[in-house]
Subunit: 271 residues, 3 copies
Amino acid sequence: MARRQFVTLTTDIGWAYAAQIKAVFARRAPNASLVDVAHDVPRHAIRPAAFLLAHIAPLFPPGSVHLVVVDPGVGGSRAPVAVETEDGSFFVGPDNGVLGLAVRALGEKRTVRLTPPDRPPTGRRSVTFDGRDVFAPAAARLANGASLTRLGRAHRLHQLVWPRPQLDDRSSRGEVLHVDVFGNAITNLPGDAVPPTAQRLVLRVRNRVVPRVSVRRTYEEIPTGGVALLASSFGLLEIAERNGSAAERLRLAPGDSVSLAWWRPRSGAGK
Amino acid sequence: MARRQFVTLTTDIGWAYAAQIKAVFARRAPNASLVDVAHDVPRHAIRPAAFLLAHIAPLFPPGSVHLVVVDPGVGGSRAPVAVETEDGSFFVGPDNGVLGLAVRALGEKRTVRLTPPDRPPTGRRSVTFDGRDVFAPAAARLANGASLTRLGRAHRLHQLVWPRPQLDDRSSRGEVLHVDVFGNAITNLPGDAVPPTAQRLVLRVRNRVVPRVSVRRTYEEIPTGGVALLASSFGLLEIAERNGSAAERLRLAPGDSVSLAWWRPRSGAGK
Amino acid sequence: MARRQFVTLTTDIGWAYAAQIKAVFARRAPNASLVDVAHDVPRHAIRPAAFLLAHIAPLFPPGSVHLVVVDPGVGGSRAPVAVETEDGSFFVGPDNGVLGLAVRALGEKRTVRLTPPDRPPTGRRSVTFDGRDVFAPAAARLANGASLTRLGRAHRLHQLVWPRPQLDDRSSRGEVLHVDVFGNAITNLPGDAVPPTAQRLVLRVRNRVVPRVSVRRTYEEIPTGGVALLASSFGLLEIAERNGSAAERLRLAPGDSVSLAWWRPRSGAGK
């Protein structure tokens, strides 16, 4: 059996619109293996989608095609693009920044601005659904083995600015990148930002102190009613509650500022 | 490799019940390619489901099997049916009107009332889940190449009455057919119902005037805080808000009346 | 074409985390056929997930691999396990009781405590996501034909205590096991717990009498505004409302006590 060609779908458009994209593949690349990554990423939220894509797409085999439809500017000036990365994978979607982190993680090889297809799936291209009418036909061609350069002309990929966390030996400052389905808030701080010897830890969210915070290893260890910092499975520091939603309790959303400060005893020092 | 046989699943029953349907295929038509269209279409809402099916199913390849479980009358007098359409596709589901628009779009060839299977999947047919116990076994047989006439006896398909929009050169009247995940309300009015030269546009929903309405081409062009009419990707006029839910703001639901009126200057005439 | 190897995914972790699990299969068992059972089972709720798994997994073909991630104790003392059942199927997940009912239904053959993989998917094992880092690699090996005994050492599977319903000829007592997407509450009482001749039926939920209750065969037969008991498609008694959510109206949740009492006329007896 031939090697399977995976095509992942990451969208904010819900299942029914995504089904129209799947129909395009059923017609034009019927042997591709479609993977529903998610169709419920936060609506119109480019940064959380970029974050998720960067942590999910590289786990798929080299050569996979990643179709992304988080596209509030559809029909406007942002370009429809396709990107080939160094490992031979492809990304297809709007050039609004949503592809940037994942492409950077895998290494950009080349990018084209997509030429709309001669035969759009419904016979007539809609200006409000490039996912179905432009991205899916292009992704289907890539899944069938077409080379990127046949899909359009060279284009320079737009990159969002991602603030780097500020880290020193007594504090760190960053922001919330993503809130997961449990209400855990993933930050851009490294999972080991707080040293094991830290004492008197203070967490501030949007400059407000959060009471009863501790550093824990697992969800099970979090004291009931308390909030914990732990190393998430993304390798980043996450703010979590036990059997509850930290995001709801602390009203956390992507973009919120997060700062940590602690007191660190001198190693080996007396007194 | 043999041509893939696609089977689409459109239901309001949620993922866990739908998984039981998938299990039937895994046993009885293991090589079929199942496509989750949606399992969250509005519960018990036949018309929105009929609308979606009519716009999604025809995009799949001819010969596909479309299984539909939006079936509030399960166990009652409505018939379990399968329909073959002119392009060789099949629809399987309850004869409550949900299949009507899609079947009309592809052309009805023949319809049968399904004979319940001799061996139901769990050993005993439940009266409350024909999706698993009657539709899925029938759809699996169709996916395996069985002819429609072997599944039951000839039956006359039930059609819902779909009110036609009223259109003239200064106004149009119709209704909301579907609200999408963004809160955009899709109407039964054509996407170009309002001429580009229209002035002093008035939108009424349930006979109430909606303020600050304009006609736009893309979501990005909608003024913040305003409501716009635009041509949806279904080819129909849609009521939308920018980065927000028009359905929530205007409390729109399928079936709501929508009317438009405008003033149209005489072309070329002076005052 | 070779027989398809099905792998089902039942999780409470949402689509984006589940996608990371799918990526592991795309790399390590690319020809497996993944089935999304659900990624929205109630968060951290072991019993409802155990109930669903026991009613869904046995419907899949013998030899299927069932991966389960409902794992509030991840990183703690509960063991990561894999189970082979008498029909040659496999279950992989946390040993917190979630696998118990399904394994009992199919017959436990042997169980191992999983040895964490040498090469975790992201290069580094996270303590908070065994689904991706331990269960998925093990399930991929099983899907590829590895024998269970190569995945770890013999282990004794944890079983939850499931209270048996109390049944006699005038009453029955049990509890709610699961609330479905419609708001129907599935109990542990048999579907035919109430005899057809029962009169003056009284339903109590959490020891409170529910008014206007009747026994019905289908949802369509339920009087508007009333509550009914009917035989669910699980073969168990369910509490339902017509076109509405019984769970919402009666505030039903898994674990709630349910009792029924009725008066039964003597058959053949006079007044």
